[in-house]
Symmetry: C2
């Protein structure tokens, strides 16, 4: 049997960030930048007023106080977005709005609150120093300065800077298009009619949601019955739009395990047992002319979800261009004892919380690989090493956080 | 001047989660459930095999060992999704796949690995106990059990359980539709031609991205010039699809502050000064026949973004139905000294990290309200109380995390 590490290395081998795509800033949100961006102009691009007021020469208002205001002629009025054609001469003022370019010859701005807001003359009741209320060209970002580097995750604050330097689009690693295909003749689309022996498909909705949560685009197909022809035709149809394919079910040793039967024939997908619980039967390889990666996850719903978290999510995160592709792992105190099979790494479902300033993890009730009630109450996986079979309450354990990263 | 708390209470007053909407599970991802869901059937819905193998009576294989296997007639073959019409009699076996219903009369399942996988007879080389490899009906979830409650955030694990109990759709608080309208005659859409005195609009892309990051749907409009007729017409057009409107710019005391001029006339939007830095001029009220809430954020980009974080994001989170509507605040050690204006709460941009097991926050370079370079390097806001003007390096400060919550 393969170890978890060996399988993880195998599935990550050769996975690269998806080729950069030029997208609008809105579509770039949450994506990883694939280029370095330098400023084609400084920020601010020109000296401008930081307050609404009047541009003046410092000497003209040197004596101005509330008791003895100074009156100046207002020779122009500059809203934001316009540049005054006038040159400010001694004894004059130019009305100016926040953000508007400082007129030639002006040395400072008097805030409107220290004036009578007058036109065509203004009474000014305070003095200023050279440069007061002026934001200097380039005092935020210099011309040619590197404002963002490849690898940056684009959130609102990074987008602010790209927009300010005139970028309406950016080159990013696009979101992988991930086809999620649940298989099994026993499966019915949730909400559909259940015949005897059938169950509602939870793997399709679950893995699709997990794909989206990982940052990718999910296309749900199925559930598909255990029919080799239908399965092959569906996979071929989906190849055109898939950067990654995930199937669930049909990979045991049984007589009706169609995914394994169909894909084994093609010779590009390898089926292996991985020393873990849940999730032992794993399949991974490539499909079609573009060597599209495919994961065949087990059909038990908890096994499928845990396998996704351990193997598929890091692959998706790498395709997205993230540096850190793994969920955070923290050390926590185990609140209840836990048994684990020898020779397998167990990923036990549990609930992580902070109690008295330390992490405590409480194993969720049922650890069977069909126990969705316990899974829904969990926010973490307790990682029990292969050589550990009994963990006492109070032990320190490694815990993979499912709600972060 | 209003305090930050007073203004926050004012903008949150009367805000409720949006009326529940019935959506597909895929659209429900990330949303808050607005109903309680009980199980219309138990999980598993019927006793079923946990392994591929052969259903048997325990007594028939009591003596079976590898050295002395027992041979039984195989009277039926049950793939998953089907129910055997046969009743298992003594001396017979029924081949069964994982997940298939246990046939009437069967007491346990022999895993295929302990057989010769034979048909129409099978050689069995081990014994079993009553119930071995059978998952009992209801051992995960009982009929009628509460599986999810209103207020639950629907991630993959919660969706798994809803799907398993047959829910293809769920009633959730939908994502608010938020119109983001930047205003200012000086603004050009990023990538467009800049005339003298004009700048690239960063507020539109930034606030739209922040809206999306908060979990809502953003519609970007503008930039709109400082023209009252255009502004009013645009706002009226947008009202039909908006649960919330956010404008930026045009709210100072200046002569061209069109947002303030236009909306003051309507009498439903209040313009106030809030004792904070950045972000002092704030406007808030309602618009149109549905009393659509509107925020008028300041035009300085850092002011607009910080105002969004402090006032608008909690409103969006409440509309989404979240219990916890605020960003997490942590205590951190201030790495460098910081000055703050008297009488105002400062939200200084900074970079939060963990050093030697404790939070350390380093103020970002430029704290001017136009300093986007420093903002892009920040992941947190240092909250300096109103009565504090000087903070020494090493002080303990409250820090609002911008990358969590």
């Amino acid at each position: 049997m393969r170890s978890v590490e060996e399988h993880l290395q195998a599935v990550l081998a050769g996975v690269l960030p998806l080729s950069p795509l030029d997208v609008t800033l809105q579509d770039a949100r949450g994506c990883v930048l694939a280029e370095s961006v330098t400023a084609p102009w400084p920020l601010p691009p020109f000296d401008n007023a930081s307050m609404d007021g009047y541009a003046v020469k410092v000497a003209d208002v040197a004596t101005a106080t509330e008791g003895a205001p100074v009156t100046l002629d207002v020779i122009d009025d500059v809203p934001a977005g316009y540049r005054s054609a006038e040159v400010l001469r001694e004894g004059t003022a130019i009305r100016i709005m926040t953000g508007a370019p400082i007129p030639q010859g002006a040395e400072a701005v008097i805030p409107v609150e220290s004036t009578d807001a007058g036109m065509p003359t203004v009474r000014i009741s305070r003095s200023v120093k050279m440069g007061d209320y002026i934001r200097l060209r380039g005092d935020d970002i210099a011309l040619g300065e590197l404002v963002s580097t490849a690898g940056t995750i684009l959130g609102p604050r990074e987008i602010a800077l790209l927009a300010a330097v005139g970028r309406g689009r950016a080159s990013v690693h696009p979101q992988p298009r991930v086809v999620v295909m649940s298989t099994g003749s026993e499966l019915v689309e949730p909400g559909g009619q259940l015949l005897p022996g059938m169950i509602s498909d939870s793997n399709g909705p679950t893995i699709a949601a997990a794909v989206q949560e990982a940052g990718a685009i999910a296309y749900r197909i199925g559930p598909i019955p255990d029919d080799p022809d239908i399965m092959l035709a569906t996979l071929e149809d989906q190849l055109v739009r898939a950067d990654l394919i995930i199937t669930t079910g049909g990979v045991s040793a049984g007589a009706y395990d169609t995914v394994k039967a169909v894909l084994s024939r093609l010779g590009t997908v390898e089926f292996t047992k991985v020393a873990m619980q849940p999730g032992m039967p794993q399949g991974h390889g490539t499909l079609g002319p573009d060597d599209t990666p495919i994961f065949t996850l087990p059909g038990n719903p908890v096994s499928a979800y845990v396998s996704f978290e351990v193997f598929v999510r890091p692959v998706i995160r790498r395709m997205l261009g993230h540096q850190n592709i793994y969920r955070p792992v923290v050390r926590a105190v185990l609140a209840e004892s836990l048994q684990s099979p020898a020779g397998k790494r167990q990923f036990a479902r549990g609930s992580l919380s902070v109690e008295d300033g330390r992490y405590v993890v409480r194993p969720a009730g049922g650890q069977g690989s069909h126990m969705l009630g316990a899974l829904a109450k969990s926010n973490a996986l307790v990682v029990v090493p292969e050589d550990v079979t009994d963990l006492r309450a109070g032990s320190a354990v490694a815990v993979l956080r499912l709600d972060e990263g």
